[in-house]
């Protein structure tokens, strides 16, 4: 029988788990055995007992022995991949262009690797869209982090001891995470203004009840609803135009990203320095280069009088919610390639085709293939 294994995550600080007990049933219903490494769910408050109750086997020894499918949040190490049996299918996040060693290892070992980042954003694939689900968690958390760190109130309050003005929050980048950050900050009562380069973003931002920052700049639309990278000139003009908004803000939350690229630098050190004492900046993109100059992933640094919080693996900071959603994404994609208890990869299916990085010794993801071929 096909065995699906869920190893404990090895990335430092990772508290998520690829499969939560609630989703085990969806996999066993596909006719597979589910093995979970003992203690894998602890960070997400999922006890081993809950897994056994749900029908999974809790494994204390080598979880990868006899694995047909490996489900994971983060990508496996190159060594780990190399040691897998040929034909094993791995499903996880895998920034393929930035992890050529792992792709190479998988290619050499004859491993199939489905990358969750590469699931195409078509309607049918929305239930497998882990970027959205984790972005949702990250956006919510960003807003809470900003609220908790600001030495002031978010909401307006008129009291006997005077009127407390509402906090001004500026959100840059209104994708999934940005919109959720807007929603959360608005709920808490902040006055929220937001900016994004996509043309549809203005309406989307307003539909959250926030104010769209109208800049005298053309919009930038890439493929698949994503943004395009900016030219340096536009980038500079955007920063200049945004500066007054940043200066006036109590809190700035940045979530801008361009797929496959470094995060755009939207806020310079000087811009942060114009902010008032006690201001807070939350940079969700710190890990991928940062939207804010000088932000450090996983740390809180002072720039001028403002405290800049750099996000590091932010979804993992809300492990229960993030794991549940990710786990549902994995279950949904598993239902695509596990047919009658066996792994069947039908590359006519746009989703499997799009998300498969490497299969049967072939690198299918073009940018990675080109990079590997180019380098070697």
């Amino acid at each position: 029988m096909t065995t699906v294994v869920v190893p404990a995550e090895t990335r430092p600080g990772e508290r998520r788990v690829a499969l939560v007990p609630e989703s085990v049933g969806r996999l066993t219903a596909l006719g597979v055995d589910v093995h979970i490494q003992a203690g894998a769910g602890l960070g997400a408050n999922a006890l081993d007992a809950a897994y056994s109750d749900a029908g999974a086997t809790v494994v204390d020894g080598d979880i990868f022995a006899g694995a047909d499918v490996v489900l994971s949040v983060n990508s496996l190490d190159a060594d780990r991949v190399a040691a897998l049996a040929p034909g094993t299918t791995v499903v996880s996040f895998l920034a393929p262009s930035a992890s050529l060693d792992k792709v190479k290892a998988a290619q050499d070992a004859g491993i199939t690797w489905l990358s969750m980042e590469l699931v195409p954003r078509i309607s049918r694939a929305q239930s497998m869209d882990a970027l959205s689900s984790q972005g949702l968690v990250a956006g919510y958390r960003c807003a809470l982090v900003a609220a908790e760190r600001l030495p002031k109130f978010f909401p307006m309050l008129m009291t006997a001891a005077g009127t407390v003005k509402p906090a001004k929050v500026v959100v840059l980048g209104a994708g999934v995470a940005g919109l959720q950050a807007i929603a959360t900050a608005k709920r808490l009562g902040a006055v929220v203004q937001a900016y994004d380069v996509r043309a549809a973003a203005a309406d989307e931002i307003r539909s959250m009840g926030a104010k769209f920052i109208e800049l005298d700049l053309e919009s930038l639309e890439g493929a698949g609803g994503y943004a395009r990278e900016m030219t340096e000139d536009r980038s500079q003009r955007q920063r200049d135009l945004l500066t007054p908004y940043i200066t006036a803000a109590d809190a700035v939350i940045t979530t801008a990203a361009v797929p496959g690229r470094q995060a755009p630098m939207l806020v310079t050190r000087q811009m942060v320095e114009t902010m008032a004492p006690g201001s807070v900046v939350v940079d969700l993109a710190a890990e991928t280069g940062g939207n804010v100059e000088g932000s450090v992933a996983g740390e809180e640094v002072m720039i001028g009088h403002a405290s800049v919080w750099g996000g590091l693996n932010v979804p993992s900071q809300m492990p229960v919610a993030a794991s549940r959603l990710y786990s549902a994404n994995l279950a949904a994609i598993s239902e695509l390639f596990l047919k009658e208890g066996a792994v069947v990869l039908d590359f006519d299916d746009e989703i499997l085709d799009g998300s498969c990085v490497v299969h049967g010794g072939q690198v299918r993801f073009a940018p990675a293939r080109e990079a590997i071929e180019g380098s070697g």
């Binding site: 909401p155 309050l157 008129m158 009291t159 407390v164 009562g189």
Partner: protein, 456 residues
Amino acid sequence: MNQTWVQLAYLAAALCFVLALKGLSSPKFARRGNALGAIGATIAVVVTLVAEDFDHMPAILVAIAIGTVFGVPAARRVQMTAMPQLVALFNGVGGGAAAIVALVEFLSAGQDAGFGELTASAFTVLVGSMSFSGSVITFLKLQGLMTSRPVVFPGMQVLLPLTALVSVGLAGAVIGTQSISMIYALAAVSLLLGVLFVLPVGGADVPIVISLLNAATGVAVAASGFVLDNVLLLIAGTLVGASGTLLTLLMAKAMGRPIGSTLFGALSGSSSLGGGEASDRPVKSLGPSDVAVMLAYAERVVIVPGYGLAVAQAQGALKELVDLLGERGVEVSYGIHPVAGRMPGHMNVLLAEANVPYEQLKEMDEINPELPATDVALVVGANDVVNPAARTPGTPISGMPIINVDQAQSVVFLKRSMRPGFAGIENELLFDPKTQLLFGDAKDTLSQTVTALKSL
């Protein structure tokens, strides 16, 4: 003048009256409607004067002139507050005129009159006289020339129905005997009936009675139309009779008083208006559509929310109301007292939930200077924070700054009852002449007001 043309002119006048009533029921066309009514009346009178070669023409014209000289200045000079009694008086003379017309026709027609005409005559005399005397009593009550309390004396429970019976009997006698003295007796007893009918009605119910007497005069005029075979009088009288009756019912409903107990309550002892606190300290209550009209026709409105808004969870309805007013061009802002509610910032939490823009919220110190220039202050479930008792020493809230809604042109309170607020003390402002109350849960009353506003 050709009779057919006269009839057609009368028809035109009747048409004017219909359109007048229609206009008068909508704020937008009310003035136009009234003007149309006046035009109709002018047509009718002029046509009548030229239709026939009447005897006594000079006397008639002089009488009309005298009536005008009495009526116009009285109507022009009357204080706003004294209008109801003036209307009562006008109604009374109208009823009296109808009675006299029928009486004179009876006198002149004599033995020639048929059964139908006789019945109509007796009816007109009865109702017209009663309307006359009843209206005079309401005038006296409202003008303060006699007590506005219900007047009840022992034996009244018997006397009133007895008088009614006697007048019906006399009417029958008039029809049967065609005796002139009988019709004078009928007039006299009917006058008494009117008096007895109105005496037991208490102050607050008087408007309803005026409306009822107005409808009665209409019916009398209609009956005189039968007497004189005059279609115009028939139509005009019937219109007023029908619309007046409906209006009476609507008014009673709007004031929450069943029409029966209004009229006969004091007599049967079931009314709460016989005396005591409530009638000593009357408050003015009004309906949601009144509030809607007041707000719609105001230039500046200040909303003062309080704990009751939170209890009713009426923030959404309030926001809708304010939005609608804004669309109509009314300037609306919220005056937020620093301790409104039960928690610092309570109103902010509430209003933010309803998505009220922060800019519309004004602090107490900001709103207070604006209140004298405010047409309507709408106090929604607040009490202590607008209680002028705070300005006089010795009360539990003395020294607390308040929102000076009492400086606004008019004040409307939305609350459920006369119960006080957190501090447990009465609010004098509730009894102020410029204050009106809309009773009920604020969510209900606000959403009714919204509905009314939309249909304006």
